[in-house]
């Protein structure tokens, strides 16, 4: 075959670049050990018994009524949360893109709503739900006088998850709506269609794949969510919490592995539908950028109800977030609202708060740059290079996106507690800080890689080629050209990784040992014990840390960002 020479020359050229080759080797080893292998070991656990291949283990798990209930709970919660989040997200996106907002205040409100879930730890809303509607909640008890209000259960999980995930839908759908060419809708309007008709006959069909995409992403998030069902689920178990309890309560690691495989197969199916069917369609139907500015809707009859609705939701969400810091500074929730610092004193003096913050902070600080660098290198290789293992690298780093944290946690336990394939090899990393940091990295890698890839696609290929042509090797090209050009994206990847790491819980809660204190794990514990004020104090400090990180990044980009550097001189 004629192409053999070309392919072998390409390979030779690659081999002539030792840094590149070693980078690829390191990456492949890392991804295999910490993403692929933990999943493989779960499969081994679930299908291989002493007498070879078997379905018995999985069958055994599926036969348990409690586990079956957990599956149906998870799916119901996922579906309802998916629908609600998509609808509310769509409402927000539609209002932002199509309706003329009169005041700066509203735009600000929208912005806050979109950023809050990013900077807050996952269970903040559950916490404030308890504070507002729980047994001594402000609304339930103080305002309505309900004693014994029971908020734990499925309904609360759905409400909380909807409020947590709809901003993600809102951001996704906003991008989608902005790309619809206004002239399409104007043409329909011009032919006599009413505004509602335009929406149903033009806008909606164009958006449908994108909406499906947003829906599935939310369902996946909901199914993978551990912290909220844990805190507010009461006796309603989801897959994620069942798996956790199977390990921590029943000490049945193999059963947990089989359960994890069930959860994993659900998210994998959704992931492939989402990534390879819907995502492609969503971008295909909206090929071009909008050619012109859109005429915004100014009709009072449309504007007022939509805006009122959005503002109400937004204000409610923001109020819920405010509850938590408020809860950390008052004496007794539900009874005595005088301000106090006693909870903070308790956190630091009694509950080893300082150690928890230092541990979490330092680990996130180590994980973040590693994640950012790793995801940029992966993106660089995926976008700019051709080599044999590229498909593997791309797939495994994307696959991690579909792996729920709980599943990864079980995979790490099963994979490393007794060493590789239970042989004792590499066992020494289990229980160390290093493995926690690795978990952080694996959890944030997919998002980083995703944004890195889209940033790199924007760089004209010939810019790097020119550097290569001038005599730079791959490493020099990456350091002197690629990295400086994606500085902003790198920095935001860094901060995102930091925030995700310091607020992570689902995977690490399984892997962490008592020697290490993690803030999120502490919050979970105190909330479960009913010490809400302490949990609030922990959460408040955590929110401040993450918010400071995001703020710092924005300031840095503003003054030292790429676009800025190019203006000066």
């Amino acid at each position: 075959m004629a192409t053999a020479q070309g392919a072998s020359l390409d390979r030779k050229k690659l081999m002539a670049d030792p840094i590149m080759v070693s980078t690829i080797v390191v990456l492949v080893v890392f991804l295999t050990l910490f993403i692929i292998y933990p999943l493989v070991i779960l499969l081994v656990d679930s299908f291989i018994s002493d007498n070879g291949f078997t379905f018995d283990i999985i069958k055994g798990v599926l036969a348990k009524p409690a586990f079956r209930t957990a599956i149906s709970n998870t799916l119901i919660i996922g579906a309802v949360t998916g629908v609600l989040s998509t609808l509310i997200g769509l409402l927000f996106a539609y209002v932002e893109v199509y309706v003329k907002l009169r005041t700066k205040f509203l735009a600000g409100l929208f912005k806050v709503v979109s950023i809050l879930p990013v900077v807050s730890p996952p269970f903040v809303l559950s916490l404030s739900m308890i504070l507002l509607f729980g047994r001594s909640g402000i609304i339930s008890k103080t305002l309505l006088g309900i004693q014994d209000s029971n908020i734990y259960g499925m309904r609360s999980i759905i409400i909380i998850q909807t409020m947590t995930f709809f901003p993600v839908c809102y951001m996704m759908l906003k991008g989608l709506l902005k790309n619809i060419d206004p002239s399409l809708e104007e043409a329909a309007r011009d032919m006599g269609a009413s505004r509602w008709k335009v929406f149903t006959s033009v806008t909606w069909p164009l958006m449908l794949p994108g909406i499906g995409n947003a829906f599935l992403v939310t369902v996946m998030e909901s199914i993978a969510d551990f912290a909220n069902p844990m805190m507010i689920g009461g006796n309603v178990d989801t897959l994620a919490t069942s798996i956790y309890l199977q390990i921590t309560g029943n000490y049945d690691k193999q059963g947990a592995a089989a359960m994890a495989v069930v959860l994993l197969s659900i998210t994998f199916i959704m992931f492939f539908v989402q990534k390879y069917i819907l995502e492609a369609k969503a971008t295909a139907t909206l090929s071009g950028k909008a050619s012109r500015q859109r005429m915004l809707i100014t009709d009072r009859s449309v504007r007022v109800p939509l805006v009122v609705l959005c503002s109400a939701v937004a204000i409610f969400v923001i109020a819920m977030y405010i509850c938590v810091p408020y809860g950390s500074v008052i004496t007794t929730w539900g009874r005595n609202y005088t301000l106090t610092t006693k909870w903070y004193e308790k956190v630091f003096n009694l509950y080893r708060g300082a150690q928890a913050f230092t541990d979490s902070f330092i680990m996130a600080l180590i994980a973040a740059p590693l994640t950012a660098l790793l995801s940029m290198i992966i993106s660089y290789l995926v976008v700019k290079k051709k080599f044999a293992l590229k498909g593997y690298i791309e797939l495994s780093s994307m696959l991690a996106m579909a792996v729920p944290g709980t599943v990864l946690g079980v995979g790490f336990i099963r994979g490393y507690a007794n060493g590789l394939f239970h042989t004792g090899a590499l066992q020494f990393i289990y229980g160390t800080t290093a493995i926690l940091i690795i978990v952080f990295i694996v959890r944030s890698l997919p998002t980083g890689t995703r944004s890195g890839i889209s940033a790199l696609r924007q760089i004209d290929k010939s810019i790097e080629e020119s550097a290569y042509d001038m005599g730079a090797n791959s490493f020099e090209v990456f350091m002197t050209v690629t990295l400086p050009l994606i500085k902003d994206s790198f920095l935001s990847g860094l901060v995102t990784a930091f925030v995700r790491s310091i607020t992570a819980i689902s995977a690490v809660i399984l892997v962490v040992t008592p020697a290490t204190l993690l803030i999120t794990v502490q919050i979970n514990e105190y909330a479960n014990r009913g010490e809400y004020a302490v949990a609030c104090a922990f959460s408040t400090i955590l929110i401040l840390i993450t918010y400071a990180a995001v703020l710092g990044m924005n300031i840095f980009i503003k003054y030292f960002g790429t676009s800025k550097a190019q203006e000066e001189d």
Binding site: A2, T3, A4, Q5, G6, A7, L9, D10, K12, K13, A16, D17, D460, S462, I463, E465, S466, A467, Y468, D469, M470, G471, A472, N473, E476, T480, V481, P484, L485, T562, A565, Q566, D569
Partner: protein
């Protein structure tokens, strides 16, 4: 300035790509043989998609040939990565590094070569002088006009003193006037530096104006290599004749041959030809006649009827019918003699030396890949 002029030899080189739609393999370049002498300025010319860029990128090392070998200064370079090859490329999009100023852009290649600051400064300053950008060292690249960016790209390529300079349609983003200025500039600098250059373009006047040799490509195949003069006056086939300038194709047979010259029969009329090669009486042949080489007159070689006559300012544009063949004629000084009107009977007149003979039907001879 170049340490050593290097020639380029492309030896039976092919490149196979996969058609993204059908998934089938096809030859983007097929069995190309090109020999470029050291110090020569060579243009790759051809219609869009014919494989020019692919050849250039194979020389630079961004693509690997699927068949054949490429030599630079006599050394085979198939195995070398782009950064190890003694080539420097000027990109169509300029590809300047947006986060560096002009000085750093030009100095980039020298810094990679670990030269000391002083030498770098000297070299950069001299090159910027050569391309007419002295004093602009500290400007960022987005503060430059297209022509200036082009000069930076050129300076950056020149400063590393490569064995070969590669250009991929470097002027296509510039306006017409600047394009002419810049191409003269590039030619001047290339000659001053005495450097070998391979230049891709699909603008034939650009190729004619600056090349020592022109390589005409069609559908991945090297169709003809020759000086601009050869390409224009002795095109190898109808494709070349038609691609470079305008041509009339007169189909007929050879009537008689007498030494170097002969007589062809076109539409039943005898046409004397000055140079006939490898043709026998009775062979099919095609005469290539340039519109500006022919005149319309009351007496001449081929009788015709005028079907279009249009005043174009500095020339008169005619279309006439010679039997069933349409012939275009451009008359640059019609006032001197006579302007014919539509319907007039006249003669197409030309000298035996002004027609070029092609074998047979004159079609593209290597199409059957």
């Amino acid at each position: 300035m170049a340490k050593e002029k290097k020639g380029v030899k492309i030896d039976h080189v092919s490149k196979i790509y996969q058609d993204p739609k059908t998934g089938k393999d096809f030859y983007a370049v097929h069995d190309a043989n090109i020999d470029i002498a050291p110090g020569e300025f060579v243009c790759l010319l051809g219609p869009s998609g014919c494989g020019k860029t692919t050849i250039l990128r194979m020389i630079a090392g961004f693509e690997s040939p699927d068949e054949g070998e490429i030599y630079l200064g006599g050394e085979p370079i198939n195995d070398l990565t782009p950064n190890k090859r003694d080539t420097a490329m000027v990109f169509q999009s300029y590809a300047l590094l947006p986060h560096y100023n002009i000085y750093d852009n030009v100095a980039y290649g020298l810094k990679l070569r670990k030269m000391d600051e002083k030498t770098i400064k000297e070299k950069v300053t001299r090159i910027l002088g050569l391309v007419g950008l002295e004093g602009m060292e500290n400007r960022m690249t987005n503060q430059l006009s297209g022509g200036q960016q082009q000069r930076v790209a050129l300076a950056r390529a020149l400063v590393i003193e490569p064995g070969v300079l590669l250009f991929d349609e470097p002027l296509s983003n510039l306006d017409a006037k600047l394009r002419v200025d810049m191409r003269n500039e590039i030619r001047r600098i290339q000659q001053e530096a005495g450097i070998t250059a391979v230049y891709v373009t699909h603008d034939q006047s650009e190729a004619m104006a600056i090349s020592d040799q022109i390589i005409i490509m069609k559908k991945g195949i090297v169709d003809q290599i020759g000086t601009p003069h050869e390409i224009y006056y002795q095109p190898k086939d109808e494709f070349v004749a038609d691609f470079i300038g305008e041509s009339n194709f007169l189909h007929g047979t050879m009537k008689s041959i007498d030494g170097g010259s002969g007589v062809a029969s076109i539409e039943g009329f005898d046409v004397p030809i000055a140079a006939v090669s490898e043709l026998e009486p009775g062979d099919d042949c095609t005469l290539v006649l340039r519109p500006e080489s022919a005149l319309l007159a009351d007496k001449g070689v081929l009788p015709c009827k005028v079907s279009l006559s249009r005043f174009m300012g500095h020339y008169q544009n005619y279309q006439v019918m010679v039997g069933g063949t349409l012939v275009k004629i451009t008359d640059f000084n019609p006032k001197n003699h006579k302007i014919y009107e539509v319907g007039d009977e006249a003669f197409v007149d030309f000298k035996p030396a002004d027609v070029h003979v092609l074998h047979g039907e004159g079609g593209f001879t290597v199409e059957n890949i």
